[in-house]
């Protein structure tokens, strides 16, 4: 085990080279719906139990299933209303289980990126060949069902190994959502030397963390999103930043929650200098225009880890 993940260098927020988003936007805003499939009776991983209760864990399973049966359509309509294309963190087996949802997202030109095969299959304990094969399966599944080349990765259930980023970059990936160290994209070290970056996702703005871990009130979630946006919008005047709102239709789309989120989305998209975009578009723009400059600046100032 390592003391430091070795994935990025310390790089202070002040005095960085300026990121310029299209149309001089201050904030690149992206919304990342996690569209997940949890198995009722998954294969057992010795490092982590899938369910807290003996199979069938009706409550845990049904909680997640609600998102696909009820929540997805509600969430999608809200995103449609404000012109937001989702960047889907996808349990890729959902392409087979629920192709109707995939079709709806394809029609809207949403981005699909890998969140593993199922959210009940963890990376813990996989050897490199196994993890490579799981990653390739997800990339192939996305391509087969959507025609898209998978650019982003959020490890299934946020379970990683030391080589996760290396393997995903080698599978053609451009960016990871697994690192929470920054409000701007940053280069990520991978063994192939490919241009691979972190695009800020956010656990603080993630509805599941908000509702399940931090047990926040729905209306307060709306206020938190607005406060997060206000500060980034102010700072983005000098140097472009990224704001992500990760969602789960089984959390945010409950009848007592969706309105507060909608109000926050209306608020953010009502600002002029916002680039409402997707994870892939942020990654491509950054790699094309800012990656080399960033690496140079980090070399000059940073502490190489």
């Amino acid at each position: 085990m390592r003391e430091d993940p070795g994935l990025y260098d310390y790089w202070p927020y002040e005095n960085r080279p300026r990121i310029r988003w299209p149309n001089n936007a201050r904030v690149a805003l992206w919304v990342a719906p996690n569209i997940e499939f949890y198995e009722l009776d998954p294969a057992v991983n010795p490092h982590r139990a899938a369910w807290p209760k003996p199979v069938p864990d009706v409550h845990g399973y049904a909680t997640r299933d609600y998102g696909n049966r009820v929540g997805h359509m509600r969430m999608m309509r809200v995103l449609d209303k404000y012109g937001v294309r989702g960047s889907i963190s996808l349990s890729t087996a959902l392409c087979e289980h629920h192709p109707e949802i995939i079709e709806l997202c394809k029609e809207r030109n949403w981005e699909f990126f890998s969140h593993g095969i199922y959210n009940t299959r963890y990376t813990y304990g996989m050897d490199e060949a196994q993890e490579r094969s799981m990653i390739q399966d997800a990339v192939d599944t996305i391509h087969k069902h959507t025609g898209q080349q998978c650019a982003g990765y959020l490890a299934p259930a946020l379970t990683h190994t030391e080589v996760t980023m290396d393997l995903f970059a080698e599978a053609g990936g451009l960016y990871t959502c697994d690192l929470f160290h920054d409000d701007q994209p940053t280069p990520v070290h991978v063994r192939s030397g490919k241009k691979f970056i972190s695009v800020p996702y956010s656990l603080e703005m993630n509805d599941t963390i908000v509702y399940v871990v931090n047990k926040i009130e729905p209306r307060r979630y709306g206020e938190m999103i607005k406060a997060n946006f206000d500060r980034l919008y102010a700072e983005g005047k000098d140097n472009g930043v990224v704001m992500c709102v990760p969602l789960h239709a089984y959390q945010v789309s409950h009848p007592h929650r969706l309105k507060a989120f909608e109000e926050a989305l209306e608020y953010m998209t009502g600002h002029p200098d916002v680039w409402v975009t997707t994870g892939r578009e942020i990654a491509e723009h950054y790699i094309e225009h800012h990656y080399d400059e960033a690496v140079e600046d980090i070399k000059k100032r940073g502490v190489r880890s």
Partner: protein
Amino acid sequence: MTLDKSYLEYPRRGYGMDHERYDWSMLSDRKAVQWPDGKTVALWVNVALQYFPLNQKGKPFPPPGGMSTAYPDLRHYTLRDYGNRIGIFRFLKAFDRLGIRPTFAVNARLAERYPYLIERIAERGDEILSHGWDMDTPHYGGLDASEEAAQIGRSLDVLRESTGQTVTGWLSPGKSQSGSTPELLVRHGIEYMCDWINDDMPYTFRTEHGDITAMPLSTELEDRFILMNNLHSESEYADQIIDAFDFLSTEASAEGGRLLALNLHPWLLGQPHRIGQLERALEHILARDCVWTAGASEILKAWLAAQNG
């Protein structure tokens, strides 16, 4: 480090669910439901009448709201008992004032221990459903099927005998089931169960002995979940119920009937500082013309009629 190769095999990876219990469908794709008299939102208020034994075994897991200190946990035993002595009567007063027709999910042990309360509930004519034996007798994967059959049988015998009702509804303690619970419920004359919270509307659930209906009794909107699990305030509870109702009534006007299902615990919302917030939420809902307040079986009947109509 390596995992068994079966960990990367997915035998159920295919269209629909990863089990045979129910069909995959999105709520928005289903036929619109009409409730009686042109109403668009059915309000189902269910009161959980529970018995938490002091000598809790907690096997294989303790019930939500169960004993949590070393024996004897007088604190939690009496806090829960408060609901059956005091809180429930505050509920009844509020329901009667507002014209709400609740259902009562009753632990069989409570029916045995407090005949006064059961008679009082039964004489109202509101629907009573089974809430299993007691809160410390869960249904779970690994429970012996014959033991579970006996558990269900005696729970229903006691409740049917003490209430004079047929009892066709079921809410498992802690909403926990074994893989056999749905089959056993059908064999014991149960027509609907309230443990699966994956929908906002009823749906058909398959068992080896015929179909049963899953009636969605929301956990996210339950008083215990909002107040005890999330530690939100009483007024926040009421705000969330109001927001849920407003959302569903808007959705219903475009997509057909919707169901707002509130599961209440008299040991929580029956406290003097909380009851007013429950009343505030219910007053908000009942002030609207679109609301149909009904018991679970009536809602189920109207839903079934809409499926076949």
